[in-house]
Subunit: 131 residues, 3 copies
Amino acid sequence: METIEISSREKVEMIEVSKEVQQVIRRSGVETGIAVVFVAHTTAAITINENADPDVVRDMLKELSKIVPYEDDYRHAEGNSAAHINSSLVGASETLIIENAQPLLGTWQGIYLCEFDGPRRRKVHVQIVSA
Amino acid sequence: METIEISSREKVEMIEVSKEVQQVIRRSGVETGIAVVFVAHTTAAITINENADPDVVRDMLKELSKIVPYEDDYRHAEGNSAAHINSSLVGASETLIIENAQPLLGTWQGIYLCEFDGPRRRKVHVQIVSA
Amino acid sequence: METIEISSREKVEMIEVSKEVQQVIRRSGVETGIAVVFVAHTTAAITINENADPDVVRDMLKELSKIVPYEDDYRHAEGNSAAHINSSLVGASETLIIENAQPLLGTWQGIYLCEFDGPRRRKVHVQIVSA
């Protein structure tokens, strides 16, 4: 297991971690298997989406803020309930397939850490299992 | 593989299963690997979120009921379409990383069974794979 | 690893792939383990839901189109931002438990490829890991 440490800069942000995950896979020496990418926080998430046009990420974050409004008579005293809800909707992890010592991703797929309550220092754990 | 059986008491509810999952991992004897926590039902889900302030869960269930209204001219005759939709949005499983014979969770992360159409008797399967 | 190729016919559609995934598991010869079902596209997703009443799928797709409207002042020039958002909400993969050389699914659970921007030719990768 390896841990990637990332400092977010914005309140809400998607930060691509594809290269970092690829490096962990390479260092593991595993040719064929899976990689679990897991964020150890309840106001962040991991997702896979397009990394070509930055407007995809922009549209996604804007739309999520409409689906889960930042203010909505929440009770949780820290005031970040929307971030917790987005964390469960997007999910705390992604499981990747490893083939030829690489993550098997489609042409446009990148791996993202979703920050929903930044800026904060975040830990992303990567566990590799050989097939 | 081990199966955790849980009886929900409410229509909509999040029940923490962190201890039960931890016990399955301990019994497996696996030190390093992954654990797949999978709910065998289409109106329930598994998620990871804060287990410190119960208002986080409360806010989440209330907001989900706004995002996916319980009544909305659904066709499915059983009348529980919202529960099916929430099941797909939150997801049927979570994959955890095992390190030192423990699930590698952040300080505030707990594992939850989400009941969206209770009360019912639910089965949560846990499969352990050594790394 | 095996790849299932699927041609969608509609703009938005859920196509059951349970049999195809089951065949990949059978061919692998693995009795106990996990299967990662991963779609290699950013405007599609994999989910598990009821495969008995087709109205469940119908209600789900209709409701998702309300939660994430197809038009909403998105900036992404391709005009398929809603498909990208649904992809991250539903998720690019599902991890199944294998027991007795079969996916361990509940009575009503089927595995679906969700097409959010069809019709297109889609690739679904399946990786099997023995426990």
